[in-house]
Amino acid sequence: MDTNDWVKTQLEELSQSSKQYEDRAFYLALLALVKEQQQRLIQSQGEVDGRTWNPSKW
């Protein structure tokens, strides 16, 4: 299992099992943050690849 997938599973669990309401809200928001981090990592890596592949600079 990929580290981020493991983190997401743990956060989903914590967002349901934590006793305090604010804690459940926190872990749910943290889960959304990790998903956005992953999305941004994919997009940024894609942009680096795309810009590096620049035939006009060959």
Binding site: Y21, E22, L30, L33, V34, Q37, V48, R51, T52
Partner: protein, 229 residues
């Protein structure tokens, strides 16, 4: 960073929204919840000014009454924000931040040109922006809560964390600032719950993600600089 929340609500005890917001901050440090009591005839000006001086982010929090704040906030402004204190010799509020937390029973879609309310909340709240300008404060984007009673459970949970950040995150506007805030909060939770062994692992993963994103950002800006030449 110390935050002062100035709560202006004539029926505070009956307000589910205000109670919810107060509870959201239960575990937050360096936050002062300051209620403007409706029975007072006059405010203790030096007390109120000392409170303002002791904080870095000042937040006016109120329900929208006729496109403005309840009268008690205006009374407080008129009495406490004296000329010298704000823009005369003292300029005591300069370099601080001013935020507004406003709730309304009308839906967000109504607050735009051509819709039933015609104006956005940013437009309606201009006097606070002008005040911030006069006081040489940084005006923060208003934090708006529309139809609290109709929010879903998930939306309420999002509101908790968004509100916490509006109050305590020095840089809640940028993704990077939010990442750092979450890391800080998680470190607090690790201190309080040393038995939850997965928390440090989660923290490490989030920090790694942030650092990788930073590196990719630097690489991209170098490539873009190169393309410009």
């Amino acid at each position: 960073m110390k935050t002062l929340i100035i709560v202006a609500h004539p029926k505070l005890v009956e307000s589910g929204t205000q109670q919810f917001l107060k509870t959201s901050l239960a575990n937050m440090s360096e936050v002062t919840w300051h209620v403007l009591a409706p029975k007072k005839t006059h405010f203790d000006v030096s007390n109120e000014q000392a409170l303002l001086k002791a904080h870095d982010r000042i937040v006016f929090q109120f329900p929208l009454y006729w496109y403005s704040a309840p009268a008690i906030l205006k009374q407080w402004e008129d009495e406490v924000l004296t000329r010298n204190f704000v823009y005369g010799t003292q300029q005591a509020l300069a370099k601080k931040e001013l935020g507004v937390v406003v709730s309304t029973g009308d839906p967000q879609r109504d607050f735009k040109a051509g819709s039933s309310e015609q104006f956005t909340l940013s437009e309606l709240l201009r006097p606070y922006q002008a005040l911030a300008n006069k006081a040489q404060m940084t005006y923060l984007p208003p934090f708006t809560i529309f139809q609290f009673a109709y929010l879903s459970e998930t939306e309420k949970q999002q509101l908790v964390v968004n509100y916490q950040q509006y109050i305590t995150n020095t840089d809640f506007e940028s993704f990077h600032g939010r990442e750092l805030w979450f890391e800080q909060q998680l470190k607090q939770k690790i201190k309080v719950n040393p038995d939850l062994q997965k928390l440090p692992q989660i923290l490490t993963a989030i920090q790694d993600n942030r650092e990788n994103l930073e590196e990719l950002g630097w690489t991209l800006s170098m490539i873009k600089d190169d393309e410009d030449e």
